[in-house]
């Protein structure tokens, strides 16, 4: 069943927390993964793969570079989840 954007944001925050140790509160829609959260490219890929599994979406490698902010990722997942 499709999840709401808030549910996706909460789930994504947990995934980011597990990979980086950042608090879930710091993972807000307007935050940039690289600039604000200091997440490097390999951690980003780990987050992407874990998000694919959790939300049942496929996030192609070419798409990852377009996910600049947490909100971008939430919107992509919301649009593409089955």
């Amino acid at each position: 069943m499709a999840q709401s954007e808030q549910e996706i944001l909460d789930g994504l925050a947990e995934i980011v927390n597990e990979e980086t140790g950042l608090s879930t509160d710091s993972v807000q829609s307007d935050k940039s993964f690289t600039e604000d959260l200091d997440i490097d490219s390999l951690s980003m890929m780990t987050i992407v793969v874990n998000a694919e599994e959790r939300f049942g979406v496929r996030i192609p490698d070419d798409e990852v570079k377009n996910l600049t902010t947490v909100g971008d990722a939430v919107a992509f997942i919301a649009k593409n989840q089955s």
């Binding site: 490097d40 490219s41 390999l42 890929m45 780990t46 490698d61």
Partner: protein, 339 residues
């Protein structure tokens, strides 16, 4: 006119080989010059800390300008022969895995064989960072099939010649070196089934930047090796951990039975993530030669093996799971008994 019929008078003889094969000795060669991160950071606007965080690499070795892949292979081979207790004359086949022998033709293997006084079969294989494990698979089948008794398998790279020092994605990753193994007959099983395969749809993920023809026609710079790091990371961790598990299953052993895990030394982050995905028990020694050797492609697994044995991290006669993966994309994994 009726179709030709074969004469049918000749009956072929087939060879039969040893019941089993094993790695009888390994050797490694690390070029003399140590290149710390501080030497590569200026050209990629980076820092020692940045490189360590992203790769676990502290330093690498670069071969001397006039030092060739054949030179490095010879050093590693002499060490492997010594461990195996064999003379070069007892080797009847030479396989060199490399992507940095700078001659399109001929291969490096015949030149190496000549250096060692070997006149047996000698050929190169192009399977990038998985080349050594491909070579072990071939050598195992050759010894068991009877086409050779003692096979020399070398993984060697002089990646410093094929790296763009200004490319932020690769300049800090690669290093030079050679590793060698001698595969020969055994009374007991000592090389498990190889689990191998490819995904050529991703061939551009790790590739020479331009073909030799494009380089000539467009008069462009020497085509260094490029890599899409994120894509490689995804494939290496989530694609290769199941392959490693399949190699364990095919060999009929459990992760708990291993004495060592020796993955291709691509990146410390890949190694750590693979261990997590594989749920490898904590007491199993893991090769981390990358810290001081960087990624030496085909040479990385035999170099790491040689180091683990020399430093007492893994026991002679122990079981090791080795997995190579790289440009192609191609991969090969097998469980082996350490020499």
């Amino acid at each position: 006119m009726s179709p030709l019929s074969p004469k049918g008078t000749g009956v072929l003889t087939e060879t039969t080989g040893a019941a089993h094969a094993r790695i009888l000795g390994v050797g490694g060669y690390r070029p003399e010059r140590v290149v710390p991160n501080s030497e590569v950071i200026d050209k990629i606007d980076s820092s020692d800390e940045w490189i360590r965080e992203r790769s676990g690499i502290i330093s690498r070795r670069f071969a001397a300008p006039d030092e060739t892949v054949v030179d490095m292979s010879e050093h590693a081979t002499r060490e492997a022969l010594a461990m195996a207790g064999l003379e070069a004359g007892q080797i009847d086949a030479v396989i060199v895995a490399t992507v940095t022998h700078p001659y399109q033709t001929p291969g490096a293997a015949p030149i190496l064989a000549d250096r060692l006084g070997i006149q047996g079969a000698a050929f190169d294989i192009s399977a990038a960072c998985a080349g050594y494990c491909h070579g072990i698979a071939l050598a195992n089948d050759m010894v068991r099939g009877g086409s050779a008794q003692h096979v020399l398998v070398v993984g060697v790279e002089k990646l410093s010649d094929f790296t763009d020092p200004y490319d932020r994605g690769t300049a800090f990753i690669f290093g030079d070196g050679a590793g060698a193994a001698i595969v020969g007959p055994s009374d007991t099983p000592a090389i498990g089934p190889t689990v191998w395969g490819s995904d050529g749809s991703q061939w551009k993920t790790i590739s020479q930047r331009d073909s030799w023809i494009e380089t000539r026609e467009k008069k462009i710079d020497f085509p260094a090796i490029t890599m899409a790091g994120q894509s490689v990371f995804r494939w290496a961790v989530w694609g290769m951990a199941p392959v490693a598990q399949k190699a364990l299953d095919a060999a009929g052993v459990r992760a708990e039975d291993l004495d060592a895990f020796i993955p291709h030394q691509a990146n410390m982050r890949i190694i750590d993530a693979m261990i997590k995905q594989l749920k490898l028990p904590e007491d199993i020694a893991v090769a981390r030669d990358i810290a001081e050797t960087a990624n030496t492609s085909a040479a990385s697994i035999p170099l790491a093996t040689e180091r683990m044995l020399r430093e007492g991290e893994a026991p002679h006669g122990g079981l090791a799971l080795q997995i190579g993966f790289g440009a192609g994309l191609v991969y090969a994994a097998q469980v082996v008994v350490l020499p």
